[in-house]
């Protein structure tokens, strides 16, 4: 049977996943900062990784970009410096993850997650440097990179554990998308 482009089940599943990514992001922002700007868990990437592995690259792009857009509209930061930082981080991170996932099929979810987390902070730091026109922010890069690698591993393991439950694979089979 030829699969329909607009599968209601798939659309609903994606909507739920986007909502999940947004809620995780908001919950995460409630965790107090440790005093270094840019250090956070990046748990929303769990959702992006699951979508990338289970549903495909366009779906992952949809979830990632919708998340950035909706969060900025909810927080009222649309088109601000923070929004540009998130968007650049999300696009770079997604781009490198797709590259590592599709072209270089030599890494597991954990490797893809770590490289994604790293490029997310690279993107954010690049934007901050442009906005403030200073390279001083680069002093923070090593500590931010170390934290991104560690959180990337945690996120990758979590995503793998959720993929292992086949929760989305079962939906895919049941409603055939």
């Amino acid at each position: 049977m030829k699969e329909s482009k607009f599968n209601v089940h798939k659309m609903t599943l994606l909507a739920i996943l986007i909502a999940g990514a947004i809620v995780i992001g908001i919950l995460e922002s409630l965790i107090p900062s440790i005093g270094i700007p840019g250090v956070k868990l990046g748990l929303s990437n769990i959702v992006i990784l699951i979508v990338l592995y289970e549903l495909g690259i366009w779906e992952a792009a949809l979830v990632s970009l919708s998340r950035v857009l909706i969060v900025s509209l909810v927080r009222g930061t649309f088109l601000s410096m923070g929004f540009v930082m998130s968007l650049t981080g999300a696009v770079l991170s997604l781009g490198i993850m797709i590259l590592f996932y599709l072209l270089i099929k030599k890494f597991s979810v954990i490797g893809v997650s770590v490289i994604g987390a790293l490029f997310h902070v690279f993107g954010q730091i690049a934007v901050a440097m442009l906005y403030l026109s200073t390279a001083y922010i680069l002093y923070y890069l090593p500590i931010i990179a170390i934290s991104a690698i560690i959180t990337g591993i945690i996120v990758g393991v979590s995503a793998q554990l959720i993929i292992n439950t086949k929760i989305i694979a079962k939906q895919k089979e049941k409603y055939n998308f």
């Binding site: 005093g35 890494f107 597991s108 490797g111 403030l132 200073t134 001083y136 922010i137």
Partner: protein, 124 residues
């Protein structure tokens, strides 16, 4: 899980982590001889130059893009005492006394840098 892929992950992550740790150690151990002045920038323009060799305690009010910051100076150290930014990263960072740790408040587009005699010359 695929063992080979996990090994590749390891080969990817460990060198990256090592590079980052070495860079961190270099930055933390790089000491300047005499940190002298703190420069406060708003949107990349110097708005205040503070002489840190003057040990008296004093406050400065800095007008940022979205509000005001109160900068406190004492014993050759500088910190942001109050800021209206949502995350308060600049306030939580506390006292800074060397050239390696700029204070950045992205919300107000303010950054504070200590410049010494042998600091890195990083410019764009």
């Amino acid at each position: 899980m695929d063992k080979k892929k996990l090994r590749n992950d390891f080969l990817l992550i460990v060198p990256l982590l090592l590079v980052a740790i070495i860079a961190l150690i270099v930055i933390l151990t790089h000491k300047t001889n005499k940190p002298l002045v703190a420069k406060v920038f708003v949107q990349s323009e110097v708005v205040q130059t503070i002489d840190l060799s003057d040990k008296t305690e004093r406050d400065y009010t800095i007008k940022g893009v979205n509000g005001e910051l109160i900068v406190h100076v004492h014993d050759g150290m500088i910190r942001v005492k109050e800021s209206n930014c949502p995350h308060q990263d600049c306030v939580n960072q506390g006292d800074v006394k060397d050239t390696n740790h700029p204070i950045i408040c992205a919300y107000n587009q303010v950054y504070i840098v200590i410049e010494g005699e042998s600091s890195y010359d990083v410019e764009i």
